[in-house]
């Protein structure tokens, strides 16, 4: 495998860092420590619940916003600014560029999530004074959140490879919202008939299924999460990402640069 993908990934990460993307961690830290101190003060027996729910939701929302806002510019901005000219006249294949960009953004988010995870556990320690066994489930929730990021990054990249940043943002965000209700969508599809049913079922299965990846409330209530679910969600996220990236590659391979 060529190392070029990884050079591109590293440069994408470097760009995010130099654009001060990681500064979002400050906002996150302020939010979480504020919440921890607040619930610690009033002590209403749900400190753990609040910290886990709020912390994990914030990790997920911050990450999604970053994924979408960086992702939508990954290809279109390079075409717009013509930085791609000197990239693609080198021995860089177009698919390597797409995959490299994806890896860079996914890596950025993983680093970001790593620091946020430390924050969540820190806040938990502050309010509960010790860790208990069910706290390990938070790691599963974080892992699912990262899987969610992979899908969002790939989708943002796909839209970026054929449309303008603004439209891409709209598409990616809509898919995020729809995907969060993917279960309901499949339910609706089952209630319809005939051709509508075919179309609705097809659409319901094609949108990303984020509902199975959201286990925040289950984890907050210390409900166990099956190994099967972890395994299948992993496979699902990887295949969905592969599918989306393949589509992005197919589009970008054919694209005339401006």
């Amino acid at each position: 495998m060529s190392p070029r993908m990884f050079y591109i990934a590293f440069n994408t990460f470097r760009e995010a860092v130099r654009d001060r993307v990681l500064y979002n961690l400050i906002a996150f830290a302020v939010l979480l420590s504020g919440a921890a101190i607040f619930v610690g003060q009033i002590s209403i027996q749900i400190e753990r619940l609040v910290v886990v729910n709020l912390g994990l939701t914030a990790v997920s929302l911050f990450g999604i916003v970053i994924a979408i806002f960086i992702g939508i510019g990954l290809v279109s901005k390079e075409i717009e600014k013509r930085t791609l000219y000197t990239m693609l006249s080198r021995p860089v294949r177009r698919w390597e560029f797409i995959v490299g960009k994806f890896l860079g953004l996914a890596g950025t988010l993983m680093v970001n999530t790593f620091f946020m995870a430390i924050g969540v556990f820190g806040a938990l320690l502050y309010v509960a004074h010790k860790f208990t066994a069910p706290d390990a489930l938070i790691l599963v929730a974080l892992y699912f959140i990262i899987l969610e990021f992979l899908i969002i990054c790939a989708l943002a990249l796909l839209f970026s490879s054929f449309s303008s940043p603004l439209l891409s943002a709209v598409f990616a965000f809509s898919l995020f919202v729809i995907g969060s209700f993917a279960d309901d969508l499949r339910g609706f599809a089952a209630l319809t008939h005939g051709l509508t049913r075919w179309l609705a079922t097809g659409a319901a299965y094609l949108v990303p299924n984020f509902s199975a990846l959201n286990v925040i409330s289950a984890v907050a209530h210390a409900q166990p999460i099956g190994l099967q679910l972890i395994l299948q969600n992993t496979l699902y996220a990887l295949f969905y990402t592969a599918m989306t990236l393949s589509a992005a590659v197919l589009i970008f391979e054919r694209r005339n640069l401006k």
Binding site: D184, G187, A190, L191, Y205, Q228, Q232, F239, E253
Partner: protein, 309 residues
């Protein structure tokens, strides 16, 4: 093959394989985890908090929860489930999100109140839901009507039913039947005639096909109940007069001067058993029958509507 063609072939293959894998995995995932509806009913213990957390999208969220409730009910119903534990929480979340979502009360009550398999068998939760609805929509007489119905049909609490119909009749624009119903409840609550009035007024006052079909089912059952009651009385009279049971429906009809052999609403003649009981021929064709059923008859788990408009 050029490099570009190779990329195209590989990417297309990857796309197709991944797409199939995703669909198969989704089906597996759906099997191993509870559907969203159950999930939420488990964790959302404060509908009020959810309303605040939905950041102004509570109208949309209410619609989503309402659909989840319908789906949950439909699915359980289809699977002959014995319990509907999450139904009441789902309806409560829905109505907390949007207290003016009227169908959630009207249908919600008719899902919650009846005993399984027709409903969740939780009339008290149904009443709680309806009371919440009336508190938020005090000038909607239909909600009183639905609530009175629950008292009447499920709890047989005719006094409460009468009271509720009375209150509803005072709402401006209320159907004039409400007054009649209130009076009937007070004096003739157990009559089949009262039941018929209730269901025919339900039928008249709605456009919804589910509600109308349900009303027709009940009206059919009432007709059969009435017929069976009358025929059974005829059999008793015959016995008192002759000292023995009639041997056939024809004999009974002749003795009682019936015009022809009496039939049920589907046109099938009633049957006379050897021990003098009157039965319908096809009990499966009727829901909600209280009379005329064969001995030891078990209704099918999934009621069907036989008369669509």
């Amino acid at each position: 093959m050029t490099a570009a063609q190779r990329t195209t072939v590989i990417a297309s293959g990857c796309l197709a394989v991944s797409m199939v894998a995703c669909i198969l995995l989704l089906q597996h995932i759906d099997e191993i985890r509870p559907p969203a509806a159950v999930d939420d009913a488990l964790y959302v213990n404060s509908p009020k908090l959810l309303k605040r957390a939905s950041l102004g999208f509570d109208g949309l969220m209410a619609c989503i929860y309402w659909t989840r409730a319908v789906q949950y009910f439909g699915e359980r119903h289809f699977n002959h489930a014995a319990s509907y534990n999450e139904l009441a929480p789902l309806l409560e979340i829905t109505t907390a999100l949007d207290p003016h979502l009227l169908p959630a009360y009207q249908f919600g009550a008719s899902f919650l109140a009846p005993n399984p398999p027709n409903g969740a068998g939780q009339p008290d939760r149904a009443i709680q839901l309806m009371r919440f609805g009336i508190a938020h929509n005090p000038d909607n007489w239909r909600l009183y009507y639905n609530l009175g119905f629950v008292y009447y049909t499920e709890l047989k609490d005719y006094e409460k039913a009468s009271q509720v119909f009375e209150e509803g009749s005072e709402v401006p624009g209320a159907n004039s039947l409400m007054k009649v119903l209130a009076a009937k409840m007070a004096f003739h609550a157990g009559d089949l005639a009262t039941a018929r009035l209730l269901w025919s007024s339900t039928y008249e006052s709605t456009q919804d096909s589910y509600v109308r079909a349900n009303a027709i089912e009940h009206l059919r059952a009432i007709k059969v109940d009435e017929d069976v009651t009358n025929l059974q009385a005829a059999v008793t009279r015959f016995g008192e007069r002759t000292g023995q049971l009639p041997t056939s429906m024809a004999e009974l009809a002749a003795a009682e001067h019936f015009r022809g052999i009496p039939t049920d609403p589907d046109g099938h003649p009633y049957r006379l058993t050897s021990d003098g009981r009157i039965e319908v021929q096809n009990p499966d064709d009727f829901n909600f029958l209280t009379k005329g059923l064969p001995r030891g008859y078990k209704p099918p788990a999934l009621p069907q509507f036989h008369h669509r408009e």
